[in-house]
C-alpha cells in the first residue's frame, strides 16, 4: 500500500479593482493511486507583494496583471485608506 500527499495549484483567479491574485492549492492524500482525501489551502497576492517565491504559473499571472499602473493605483488606494483612518481618529 502506498500513501502519498500531492499538492497542486488548481485555481488562480484575478479579483478586485486592483487585480489581486487569489490562489488555491489542492492537497490530495492518495492511496494506491486513489484520492482518499482532499483539502484546500489558499492565499492572495496583492499588487504590492513580492511574488518571487510563488509557483511559476502564479508568477506569470502576477507579472501580467500587476503592472506599474495597477501597483500605483493600489498604493494610492492604500494611502487613501490610511488617510481615512487618520481622519476618523
Amino acid at each position: 500500500m502506498t500513501i502519498e500527499k500531492t499538492k497542486t495549484i488548481d485555481k488562480i483567479e484575478v479579483v478586485s479593482d486592483y487585480k489581486h491574485i487569489q490562489v488555491r492549492e489542492r492537497i490530495d492524500i492518495v492511496e494506491d493511486g486513489q484520492v482518499i482525501s482532499t483539502t484546500y489551502h489558499r492565499w492572495v497576492i496583492a499588487p504590492n507583494q513580492d511574488h518571487s517565491n510563488e509557483h511559476a504559473d502564479v508568477q506569470a499571472m502576477c507579472q501580467q496583471f500587476h503592472t506599474q499602473e495597477v501597483k500605483d493605483a493600489y498604493a494610492t488606494f492604500l494611502a487613501e485608506q490610511q488617510a481615512l483612518e487618520s481622519a476618523n481618529v
Partner: protein, 203 residues
C-alpha cells in the same frame, strides 16, 4: 456499464448505473443521490430568485501573518499560524490563531498592524462593514492609555484585517493598533491572538 431509467412505483423513478440507483426522483420533484449531488451552476434553495442561489461552497486552510501598512513585517518566525475558512456563496468565515516566536527587531515597520494573508479578497462594501472578533489576546505592548488589540475590521479591496484597540482616555474602541505595538521578543507565545469573523468577497 449499463445506464437505465426505472419507474418502480407510480410515484418515484430513478436512474440506475449497473443496476444501482444513482439518482431518484419522486412525484414532488425531490432528487436523492446516495452519495452526493454535484452542480457547478449552483443550487436554488427555498425559491428561484437569484437571492436563493447557492453557487459556491468551500472549506480549507490559510496562513495568517502580521504585517504593517506596506504589507511587510520583520517577524522572523511564529509559534502558531493556524487559519481556517468556510466559504458559503459570497460570504467567507475565517478563524484561527497567531502568535510569534521571534519578532526580530521590527526595524522599518510603519503604520498600522494587520492580520494579513486572508484566503479571499474582501469586496468593496463601504467602510467598516464587516468586523472580526478577538477572543484571546496576550502579550502585546500597547502605547500609553490604550489597550492591546480588541477588535478587527476587514479592509475593502484587501486580504487583510486591520486591528483596533480602545482609547482608555475616551473609552472609545476606535484606535488603530500600530505595528510597533507588537512585543519585540525572541521567545515564543507573544503577540498571541485568537480571532474569527465573516466578510463579503469579490467574485
Amino acid at each position: 456499464m449499463t445506464v437505465s431509467v426505472k419507474a418502480p412505483t407510480s410515484t418515484t423513478g430513478s436512474i440506475q448505473l449497473n443496476g444501482s440507483d444513482v439518482l431518484t426522483i419522486d412525484s414532488s420533484g425531490n432528487l436523492t443521490a446516495p452519495n452526493s449531488l454535484t452542480s457547478t451552476g449552483g443550487i436554488y434553495l427555498g425559491g428561484t430568485a437569484s437571492a436563493n442561489l447557492l453557487d459556491d461552497y468551500e472549506e480549507g486552510t490559510w496562513t495568517p501573518e502580521y504585517h504593517d501598512d506596506n504589507g511587510e513585517m520583520g517577524v522572523t518566525s511564529y509559534t502558531d499560524q493556524n487559519g481556517y475558512y468556510q466559504r458559503v456563496g459570497q460570504y467567507v468565515t475565517v478563524w484561527g490563531e497567531i502568535q510569534t516566536s521571534n519578532t526580530g527587531s521590527l526595524t522599518g515597520t510603519t503604520g498600522g498592524l494587520y492580520i494579513g494573508n486572508l484566503p479571499f479578497v474582501k469586496a468593496s462594501t463601504g467602510n467598516d462593514t464587516f468586523g472580526a472578533h478577538l477572543s484571546f489576546v496576550r502579550r502585546f505592548t500597547p502605547a500609553a492609555n490604550t489597550t492591546s488589540p480588541k477588535t478587527g475590521l476587514f479592509i475593502n479591496n484587501s486580504n487583510a484585517m486591520r486591528l483596533y484597540k480602545e482609547d482608555l482616555t475616551t473609552g472609545e474602541l476606535d484606535l488603530g493598533v500600530n505595528a510597533t505595538e507588537l512585543s519585540v521578543q525572541t521567545t515564543q507565545n507573544y503577540n498571541w491572538l485568537v480571532f474569527s469573523g465573516t466578510y463579503l468577497i469579490t467574485g
